[in-house]
Amino acid sequence: MAHTEWKDAPGLPDFSLLKRLARDQLIFLLEQQHEVDKLYKVELKPIVSSSDQLCFLIRPRIQTVKWISDLVNADKVAGRFRRYKIIFTPQKFYACETVLEEQGVYGDVTTDEWNFYILPLDDDILSLELPEFFRDNFLEGDQRWVTTAGSALRLLQSVYGSFSKVYGIGRCAKMVYESWRELMEDGEQRTRQPEFAKVFLVDRDVDFVTPLCSQVVYEGLVDDLFRIKCGSVEFGPDVTSSDKSIKVMLNSQDKVFSEIRNEHFSNVFGFLSQKAKNLQTAYDKRRGMDIQQMKAFVADELKGLKQEHRLLSLHIGASESMMKKKTKQDFQELLKTEHSLLEGFEIRECITYIEEHINRQVSMIDSLRLLCLLSITENGLLSKDYRSLKAQYLQSYGIEHLLTFANLRQLGLLEEQQAGETLTVMESKVGKLVNDKTVGKLTDAFSSLAKKSNFRALSKRLALVPKSGEEYDLRVPRDMAYVFSGAYIPLSCKLIEQVLERDGWTGMEEVTRMLNGQEFAVTARSKTDAQRIVLVMFLGGCTFSEISALRFLGKERGTYYVKQME
């Protein structure tokens, strides 16, 4: 994120330090097991290897430990003797050891820990790479990763300096803060380092709406279509226009990507073709060069141009593939439905659309996404709709999704409204008198009477949905809404913006009440406000749209946002 507007903006800390730290630790751990024969992915599969030492580097998951136990037991049955070492990262859990014990292999394996917390994915993105964080914490109520997140914060603080201010919202955020504070108190007091950043901790369940929306900025689309994993993506043959897939690192090192990643998709093609023209011009410079100039050209520029050329053709390929999928009518209608839901407009039509979506088996995930979005924006589905949509979904995709629905309900993502009895009675009476469509409208009216939808109120209060009808120039975004085609400002990012602006939660009491409270703001000892780095930690993951929105905010305010996600 280059920004020239603010000359006194601070430089970002050098995250390569973290990388080096992690690598050195790993090498230290593995040193005891030199001469690695082969690397395997841990799965339930016999390991064909003549090596008499196996070393497993795993997350502390019960399932994985069970697989390893099975491998060990299989070796035992076959009369093979091997030495086994399990390295748990970021930490060992007691439950894992219990599994080893119960599987009768506790004495056969040695265990170790590798306190690896943070993976720097880019200049401004750090990740804990814990995809299970969301499920464990929000669905299963297992807070095992809280201390991990706390330790990660401590690590950052010990490497880069202390935090001047900590804001947060959500139960998990609070716990992470507490855990981090305890760690800091326990540890020896270091000599005071300069302050490095403000921190904002936010639970994913504070804002479920944003991740449920289809992404339309370039990086978000790449993620939706091709899945970005650990900062890299695998482009299939349809993108590379060869028979091979190519794995590409996506970060600010990629000059082409770094310019389009935050752009709304509709601008990307124009940009790419301009870039292609520029490239051609650069190539064309060769003509009319004398030998000396040519030599300089080959030495200095050609390599860069070639590299850029390669990347450009990849991104053009990716955009074409996106175009194919996303400019189709289906996608337009999907977006339209999402926008209607966000606005709370023509809900009946939306439900009909979702129904058709399910019936036609357009996409298993998209259907669920729409259902959840409907439920959250409407504060739950009416019983009648809930049952009918659920039944249809089960018919389409099988009854095992009963469990999916149970989980979604548990998370509060997809709920059935518990409408007041009187209303239900009235509704059924009225229903007999008028035709279907009217009933729908009436029900909508009743439900809005029965329970005020928090999202609606929040949206109104924070002005998340700009007034429709106004033209929105996506090329010159005026606010963060551009990441959703100007239809919606991500709630999470809006909260961050507001809190930082107010330097706390004062004046936002009503908002926090609607978000179930649990907000906090803590000032560190000193009152210096010089640094402008803000570390936003999403507990339970974040979307690329949110990252783009925060980058936009950073550019506007001359602030660096470093995002951290699970």
């Binding site: 019960i62 219990t98 058709e356 659920k390 089960l394 018919q395 389409s396 009963l402």
Partner: protein
């Protein structure tokens, strides 16, 4: 100020300072006593009447401070003691004849005992030496079998039996323990022969330049730092050299040929002059570099205690320190000295101000002066008669403040320890807090006070001290049998995680569980849960979990992977029929056999009904019907179907032409019309069965309209078929339909007819200026009128 000049006696290069007049009242002095005094001004232990071996009179063990104040006294009831000695942490070691070592604290409280091994207990202890090294306190034993056994650190006992000494027929004339090359070794003299014993070998050695007239080495001693060795021969010569036996420093003839009682080095660190002290009955001889010796008469039976920078001499009445005169003192007190120190002393005498001269030194950093004054003040405080720790400044610096504080704590001098910490500004964590913790640990063992009183006292005293671990104090309380007090104290522990292990140990599992949950540390909760699982019977275990939802949900996580059946039992206990239903549904997907699956689903249905979840129950019942239907059809038509969703089943049936069966499903399962129409439309188009599609389109009015018909035909590139449905499309979708089949005129017609501006625009945007010129004009006109309206 100590040393007081009148109690100081100069003995050549040495001075003798009286430290204390002993506070004890010993009838027979130190005669017939086994004595052990700890270095660094440590405590003194006496075993009285030790040599009188009569069974009727038990010896008395007494412990005193360095100033002779009694700390403990009790009759010795155990076996015959061969040797007493002190550990680095002020514990008393009593080595018995059978090789058992008993450990007491300095208040005479028994702590523990350990054995020096079978071999020692069989052949009995002949002689023993207790020594200190960087690894702690060690014990070396010479057994009746004339073999050495050694333990370098009594807190981590690893017994080592040293190799045999060749030609050793009887007890060696003398021996000593050395620490060299990070190893403890024994130096043995057998007559005139000298050997070094280490772990593996017995090596004969010769001290360089030892006078030849000696036929036997009768005594030896090693310096405090293990660097120097002194040997006394039967000819009365003292040989002094380095302990690696590479260098001789001097040799002096004492002219006394009787074996001495004790010999010790008396040397300050970095001093150039070697000097050793040899003691006989009533006589003390100091030998040094020159041939001359200094003789000194002792009135009483005495004991030498080697120190880092001198030797202490303890007698029945007095306690003295013999040390080389420090360079600084020499400069000050030398006759007619003009050294700065001497001048300063003169000035002090004149003006009675110690820091007076300091004012004239502008460039001198004051820190050194200040810290030295502090040190001296602390030293004076601990040297006080009532405390009785006569430390020199050199010793104090070597032992460090931390250790001094420990020593004060061992002596239960808590207020003094705290004062010292505060005065020396020791960081709270290592200083005051540590002392308070020790105090509290001692306090909780006081049986006469009630739990409430102690808990209150502890909490009041420790309130604002940083870094106090209440759990450690509570553990102490528990160990002294005061569970209730321990629980009370744990209440003060701010980190709930710290409370858990002790609570478990005290079998307070419900409390442990809630504390673990409070701590927010999942791992800790798991630890408690797993502990409880093994400790309690199943029923109680479940009951306990039931009251702790967090623990329950964690345990469920574990069971999901590890113990499916337990999971079921848990749901059963809670009457959680909904979850039980889900459980059975999940299980049914893991089973391959159809009968088993149906049976599991039936269980799920029962549970869902119990949970009053009719929806899930009905759906599950449907699934059972579907499975049976799929199986039947699989058998009849040989088409893979089992496990498909309803939709996928119908799709498959339609694609292989089993329309009847698909229809049956459509009716049986109340599939919405729309869904079925979409399905059939797609299936027929995929097979390009246009005839059937047309028939289907005519069966009744399409619930999904006819636009999908048009679109699906176009998708399969059949414009001809597509056109057939255009006319059936609702007016709202007409334009779209025409456009889909590429009929611009039709589209234009429809749009104009509907006078819909946006539709007209859509058509316009699709027109090309070259071919549809006329059409565009018409449209533009229509648009104009539409806008007007």
């Amino acid at each position: 100020m100590w040393p007081t000049k009148d109690k100081t006696e100069l003995l050549g290069p040495l001075r003798k300072i009286e430290l204390y007049e002993m506070g004890w009242n010993l009838k027979d002095g130190l005669r017939e006593c086994l004595v052990a005094a700890a270095p660094y001004g440590g405590p003194i232990a006496l075993l009285k009447g030790h040599y009188r071996r009569s069974p009727s009179a038990r010896p008395q063990l007494e412990i005193y401070s360095s100033s002779g104040l009694p700390l403990a006294s009790f009759p010795w009831k155990s076996g015959v003691v061969k040797q007493l000695g002190w550990t680095v942490s002020d514990d008393l070691l009593c080595v018995q004849e059978d090789g058992t070592v008993l450990v007491y604290d300095l208040w005479g409280g028994f702590k523990r005992h350990f054995s020096m091994g079978n071999e020692v207990s069989q052949s009995q202890v002949l002689e023993t030496k207790i020594f200190h090294s960087p690894y702690g306190t060690g014990v070396a034993i010479l057994t009746g079998a004339l073999r050495f056994t050694l333990a370098t650190n009594i807190d981590d006992i690893k017994l080592r039996r040293l190799p045999e000494v060749p030609g050793l027929q009887e007890a060696p004339s003398c021996w000593a323990v050395l620490t060299q090359d990070r190893q403890s070794k024994v130096l043995v003299a057998n007559g005139s022969q000298l050997f070094i014993l280490d772990n593996t070998a017995c090596t004969p050695v010769t001290p360089p330049g030892l006078s030849p007239q000696a036929s036997s080495i009768v005594h030896m001693c090693v310096s405090f730092s293990y660097k120097y060795l002194a040997l006394l021969t039967d000819s009365g010569h003292v040989w002094m050299g380095t302990s690696n036996l590479k260098e001789k420093l001097s040799e002096v003839d004492t002219k006394i040929k009787t074996p001495p009682k004790q010999m010790a080095w008396c040397r300050r660190p970095k001093s150039q002059q070697p000097s050793a002290v040899v003691m006989w009955d009533g006589l003390l001889i100091v030998v040094g570099e020159c041939k001359e010796t200094i003789q000194y008469h002792l009135d009483d039976d005495s004991v030498l205690v080697p120190e880092l920078d001198g030797v202490r001499i303890i007698s029945g009445t007095h306690h003295e320190l013999l040390q080389e005169v420090p360079g600084a003192c020499e400069e000050i007190f030398k006759i007619a000295s003009m050294a700065p120190g001497a001048l300063l002393l003169e000035a002090h005498k004149e003006y009675e101000a110690a820091s007076f001269g300091k004012c004239f030194l502008s460039n001198f950093p004051p820190e050194q002066f200040v810290s030295m004054c502090r040190d001296l003040r602390v030293l004076n405080a601990v040297r006080d008669y009532t405390v009785g720790i006569p430390l020199t400044h050199t010793q104090f610096k070597q032992m460090t403040v931390q250790v001094l504080i420990d020593r004060l704590v061992y002596r239960k001098l808590y207020p003094l320890a705290i004062e010292v910490c505060r005065y020396l500004k020791t960081p709270e964590y290592q200083g005051v807090s540590r002392v308070l913790k020790h105090w509290a640990c001692y306090k909780v063992q006081q049986k006469e006070e009630s739990d409430e009183v102690i808990a209150k006292a502890v909490s009041v005293k420790l309130a604002d001290a940083a870094g106090i671990s209440y759990s450690e104090i509570a553990t102490k309380a528990y160990e002294s049998g005061r569970t209730e007090l321990a629980i009370k104290l744990l209440e003060f522990e701010p980190r709930s995680g710290e409370q858990v292990p002790l609570l478990l140990k005290m079998k307070k599992s419900p409390l442990a569980l809630s504390k673990a949950i409070e701590s927010g540390d999942t791992d800790l909760v798991y630890t408690v849960v797993m502990y409880l699982k093994n400790e309690l019977n199943r029923g109680d275990f479940f009951m306990m979990l039931r009251n702790q939802p967090v623990a329950l949900s964690l345990y469920k996580q574990f069971c999901k992977h590890q113990e499916q059946d337990t999971l079921k039992d848990l749901f059963n206990q809670d009457d959680d029929h909904e979850e039980l239903g889900n459980f059975y549904v999940k299980a049914s997907y893991k089973d391959q056999r159809l009968e088993a699956r149906v049976a599991l689903l039936q269980s799920a249905v029962d549970e869902y009904y119990k949970a009053k979840n009719d929806f899930s129950a009905k759906t599950t019942e449907d699934e059972m019907r579907l499975l049976r239907f799929q199986r039947k059809l699989e058998e009849e038509k040989d088409e893979q179907l089992v496990g498909f969703s309803l939709q996928d089943t119908m799709t498959t049936l339609l694609s292989v032409g089993l329309h009847k069966h698909a229809e049956q499903l459509y009716k049986d399962f109340r599939v919405p019309d729309k869904r079925f129409w979409w399905l059939k439309l797609k299936a027929l188009a995929e097979k390009e069965d246009w005839e059937e599609l047309e028939k289907f389109g005519k069966t009744k009015k399409s619930p999904i309209g006819y636009l999908p018909f048009v679109e699906v035909c176009i998708k399969h590139h059949n414009k001809y078929e597509a056109k057939k449905y255009v006319s059936k499309v609702t007016p709202e979708q007409k334009v779209k339909a025409h456009l889909a089949v590429g009929d611009m005129e039709g589209a234009a017609e429809a749009a104009i007819e509907r006078r819909n501006e946006s539709e007209i625009s859509t058509v316009l945007s699709r027109c090309s200026a070259t071919t549809d010129h006329l059409l565009m004009e018409r449209l533009n006109r229509a648009k104009a009128t539409a806008v007007k309206k």
